[in-house]
Symmetry: D3
């Protein structure tokens, strides 16, 4: 039985090596990535047992996904489907001014057909935290229902619910997202949201501190985290606002930074940290993540602590 | 203006290196493959100008496909689509008893929406040969109509039509295939068909010579090629049957063998060869193809001639 | 709780790509391998839940080993050590007459200090089968004691004990091996042994059938498997001898063939197969393993069944 | 028929991966590069149809060059030679203070024997722009004559002639270059020249604005571009001088920056841009090029526009 | 006969490519590294003939080490051992805040058993400089004795002795190091020491200038170099202190920077440079080293001179 | 001072990985190869000290060649040239019927200008054997003179001269080769020649035994080896003919097989073997070579002995 259960889609990520262009590469590096499994892995690396729930086709590509997630330390509880595909995304990573670009090829993935009855709800009810993101209900009407049901099951079991708003413009419009996601808000305890999404999707105004306060008050969240990229994050809790800066980092792979942050926040809070301490560890984990290829935060608790205590370090030998 | 115009889907092929398993690899080699472009390339390498017609999404993956086909020497005439995806297939190549396995992920590719009016029919009418395969109409109802229309346009222009039956069990049932493809037969001059498909899909009986004869007589084809894998091929023409053996080969990549054969046959016939001579060159080209990674026959006319004349050769230095 | 529990060392395997020589390579492919985890993985792939017990240093290399084993589907129960190293072996794979050569660098691995009290014995007592090999007691005097204790715990719990003799000339002399391993025989139900080891280490004479019979009678094993490389295997059970041929295979990696055989045998027997049926599946799994890079049998039950039923197959598409 | 025709040498570029030294690498990445084809590709990517004229040996290395250029979108019109070699260059890319170093191995390339009569001059006469550089006449006396003849043919056809001065110290002395290239100036409409070359080879003095003005006045060019590396470029046209800054960029490959600039300038001018607008797009294209491995600007018109309008961008997903 | 003889351990370095984590990589790049051979190579590249003395097992891994050192230009005089292992170290290179981390796996390497009588002492007596570091006596009691004997032999032969203090916290405590290494000081002419080690191990106080002076006076060294990482180095000689800044550099591989510095210092001093000139070349060589993958300074004398004279340079073509 | 001195050209070999075609690869593996250095390396691996004489440009590519040869164990005595190039050859390795193909790009290599006065002749006079091949005089008129002079110097010093006929059709015609090479015969003690060359170039008739006998008698060689590829070799010595079969081998790289044979023959003869024993070791070395990538025989004396004594062997662990 895991303390954290997350639910969502994990895709194959196909990316050219060495800044090659997608149109010119003759090789893809294969990784797996998905916000919900990324968060589970980050939390597990920080000491929280974690299980990822999803649906995959019963074929070698489905096994790729599960194998990698297991390698990185989490448990998986998968509804295996005789049909369907694994969602993929093509990622071309580049410096400025080209920038990193993602091509999603995730339509009709097996997970888009995942119904509540395909999962055992006991682990959700028995967990300490249940986590999903705004990507999941964006994937299909079926997943909207399922997300709602799983959040409800968590609530019934007294499980804390955490949710990353994660608006994806390539999946739906701001209006659709706002309508669907605000319906989920009453079932959510901890909300993570980018300041940009709060402004552009929810139409909130003011600075991030004000946004955090508005959200917390209006929807009665227990905790609200407003993230601001390189400008750090805001944590609202018990009507108090905490600011957290970012740690400087040599970025190798920016994708997954927010998930490392969120997974660490969940783990540290479960471990008893107060909000500002949890935010500090989360920022350290996020900085470490950016030095690691791929989407997931293959970090250790000790490394995060070293960053919090000492910042960067010399060669250790 | 090209002498050969082909129409069909070309996919990205993603394959692990060095006999790795799909579920375990962390790298895919990227190739492009599709029966109709494979045939066009083989023909072009043997001296026939060739153009491939298709539909692709206007994104880096669509440009990958076109770029590779252009590299290999053919022209492309693509209907660029603002939406849709590039079909992909995952290929795990292995020796016995594991065998080579293919996972198609080609549903909803942009090409499945290709309508006749998206193409300029003049090049088809002006070509000497128009080529497509039984895969194309298997991909969508729209493509069934389009295939029919393009074959009709070819006929109107006095263009010879060549067709590879290419039954794919992962795309449709034998009954569906039989119904659809036999409707196309009246518009086809040159049919290539595997003995196995003639038996299992069309329900023909007898040995390959008898099958070739039955098909030629019943549907009034100008030429029928019945392929038998390692046992060679049969060519039926002017009511005469010709047998062709395979050349021995050190196989590196079996995929595309038949397309190399067919493309060479088309090119040599256009060049004036009689059927048995064209079959001999086709068998040589097919043997060469198997020594080359990927789906396409990156061969030269000179190499094919050397095989026909001398068989295998020593190190040339 | 797993049906199969195995105990032993798993090493990092470092091997040059593409037949390069160890002295000349500038790259090692990294795999993990160890007879006991190989067997557990093969059994798990055939449907038997499996856990591997061992000791590793708590560092990134220890996590490499556990991560890969988890990826391949088994559970791990590791005594994490603050000191010590991960055993490594360098493998240069080559064709004849060079042959494959292994350089062990496994002395003083953390596992050589593993004491019985560092493990929870309940899973061994609760398992259906406990498995280890003659390599484990060869690694250190401590491991001789621990092996003996764990076999005893299994017996106390009514757990079937299976043992692969696996004599390694680079670890100890035939005389030492004979003395130590025959002391373990009374606690063992199922013995797997190479005919060569039975002759050279145990000093048995006669053909493999006679060897199997002698061993079974003399030491009162429930089952004896005598393996003979390319000549197949002999299974002795209930005083009956069964012969099993090998399946033809295109070998990519010979290491781990025997472990694939043994793991499959264990799984199929647990699944209710009689000895000759289990042997047939084991031979099929062993043939599949040889087509796969690395030490472990990344196979599926369905693939094994296909080999048993149909032998090799054509391209599936 | 292409709007742009360029003429010159394209070489194989052999470069070690990952900052390895030429003397130590055991692997070369293979690219193709040449100023004239680089410019044609950049122009084609911006929407101008382009053909590259040259001479190559009829062997697999000659086909490498043509295949890659075709992949990148341009047409090729090659005089195939039964003898001769493909020019190569070895490039060791490194940061400071090592710096990037190039070893040319281009002597006696087939192209050095290219005579005017080996080319069809109609496409030059029918084009809107003919382009070559100061490298071409540096390669052989034969190429000096051929360059002169092709420029003359362009003039006869009313084709605008564009020329990049491109002095290469490893090919000839400043005095030789000055003598030969200034003889070509009367046939040239648009001159691109590095401020450094104007000073060191032509002996001009003053700041880049003054140099542009002097060149334009003295030789009666229609347009003069003076490039200054990281300090931007100067465009002189209709007796007016325009300054253009560089865009900031994360450099992956500096080679080909100037060619991306020039090709874009040609394309945008053909598209109707005035000089300052064309310069701005050219600077944006040059910045994008530096993020891409290899010599060529695999960019899209849309990307260039985004840089001009928005500068760098966040991850797009 | 070489002018420089060095003595010490050289290990296999196993490092993941592209910032991968040790726990996740499936590939190691293979390099060889050791302070004493690194110094010998740097000196040889600057024109000083050099021989490296050590002990290795007679197997392919021992030959890897010797082969690479020979490739890089030095001679080797190895005591080949029938047993024992090659020391290895795993290096995970990363940016901040992760930082570069080293896992040593060097215990029980063959070199730890190297006795004085296994070496021919003539080359040491005939050399101009004998070099070793504080790592060597840290490896085993036997090596403490051997180091002492070889330094004594050098003294007897009138050979200048140079020594890099090189404290390694993963090998011994500061107290042990201080006790052993200060016993060697009377036999040493040129000492190189990090300011950090002088403070933390020897307990010296004051700024680096003071430390250099204290060391020189107290132990009667001929020359003392105190290194300070990015803040440059101090050279004390004839009671005069010289300061040397670092050159800016784009770091690809930080390991071996100090060895490049020291080897160059030795070579330039042998070549007749005064101390400040030698320091300047050493700083230039160190900056070049950091642009090169691996541990060794594959530089040329000409490159070092260019940096000293001109600093960084543009693309040379 | 080395027992064997060889003289000739060593080239960079550029070859695509994994059976890719030269025209399609985007990567070359870098090796060095040349008959005379290959022979020196094979001899050195069998225990004969060896030095290779040649001329190279003083640049990183020249250092590549020397570095690799030193890595493989031989000494080099190179005339460094300020100008000139390193000869290269492109090798496309493939199975039948494609076959392995070589494109030479070796014209105007620095070595083609090597004059006798650029070398110290003492090592040749002091050696036990001097070796070169028929490739060297084929490269330039200068090298014809130099080859003649070096053979003469060897004779003067009482050094045995060994010569591999090595006719290369891509370098000169049979008539030229015959004229030049037979002029060298009077200075040669040991001749190695392919039966094919004896027939096609020298015009000899009869079976290989007769050819060996004719050559030995007519030109007064001490020893004649006639090689016949897969059919083995003939050794003629003291008017006696010895036949040697080939050992079966799994070929990875056929290039360099003959050089491994010849180098081993030289080494074993120097070691005191009679001709039939030396032939047996040579055949074993040749078989081992074919299992190794690249041109050189990275073998050990022990491995050769094992093949001679036991043939192929099982996995050694
Ligand atoms: Ca590439
Ligand atoms: Ca490979
Ligand atoms: Ca892998
Ligand atoms: Ca290598
Ligand atoms: Ca390599
Ligand atoms: Ca390397
Ligand atoms: Ca490499
Ligand atoms: Ca890389
Ligand atoms: Ca990887
Ligand atoms: Ca990999
Ligand atoms: Ca490729
Ligand atoms: Ca590649
Ligand atoms: Ni490519
Ligand atoms: Ni990678
Ligand atoms: Ni990765
Ligand atoms: Ni490839
Ligand atoms: Ni390929
Ligand atoms: Ni390789
Ligand atoms: Ni691999
Ligand atoms: Ni692997
Ligand atoms: Ni790469
Ligand atoms: Ni590398
Ligand atoms: Ni290498
Ligand atoms: Ni690459
Ligand atoms: Ni590239
Ligand atoms: Ni991997
Ligand atoms: Ni390296
Ligand atoms: Ni590859
Ligand atoms: Ni290689
Ligand atoms: Ni190699």
């Amino acid at each position: 039985m895991s303390d954290l259960v997350s639910f969502g889609e994990t895709m194959l990520r196909l990316s050219p090596p060495d800044n090659e262009r997608l149109e010119d590469t003759d090789e893809f590096e294969v990784h797996v990535g998905g916000a919900e499994s990324n968060v589970a892995i980050a939390a597990q690396r920080l000491g929280t047992s974690a299980t990822w729930l999803s649906k995959l086709p019963e074929n070698p590509l489905g096994r790729q996904v599960v194998g990698k997630l297991r390698q990185y330390g989490i448990e998986t509880d998968v509804a295996w489907s005789p049909q369907g595909r694994v969602g993929t995304y093509y990622m071309e990573q580049a410096g400025e001014p080209r920038g990193t670009n993602v091509i999603y090829d995730r339509q009709n993935a097996a997970v888009t057909t995942a119904k509540t009855r395909e999962f055992d709800l006991e682990p959700i009810r028995d967990a300490k935290v249940f986590f999903t993101t705004g990507i999941t209900p964006a994937l299909s009407p079926t997943l909207r229902d399922t997300t709602m049901s799983l959040l409800k099951a968590a609530k019934e079991g007294g499980t804390t619910t955490a949710f990353d708003f994660n608006y994806r413009a390539k999946l739906w419009s701001p209006d659709e997202a706002k309508e669907v996601l605000t319906q989920l808000f009453p079932g959510i305890d901890v909300l993570v949201i980018a300041a940009r999404d709060a402004q552009n999707v929810l139409g909130l105004e003011g600075d991030p501190r004000q946004i955090a306060h508005q959200l917390g008050s209006q929807y009665d969240f227990e905790t609200v985290i407003v993230t601001r990229g390189a400008e750090g994050a805001i944590g609202w809790h018990d009507n108090v606002v905490h600011e957290q800066d970012v740690y400087e980092t040599d970025t190798v792979s920016p994708i997954g930074t927010g998930d490392a942050f969120t997974g660490t926040f969940v783990a540290r809070r479960l471990d008893g940290d107060d909000v500002p301490t949890a935010l500090e560890y989360s920022a350290a984990a996020a900085a470490l993540k950016r030095t690691i290829p791929g989407d997931v935060a293959l970090i250790t608790e000790e490394e995060v602590e070293t960053v919090v205590k000492e910042g960067a370090k010399a060669i250790s030998r």
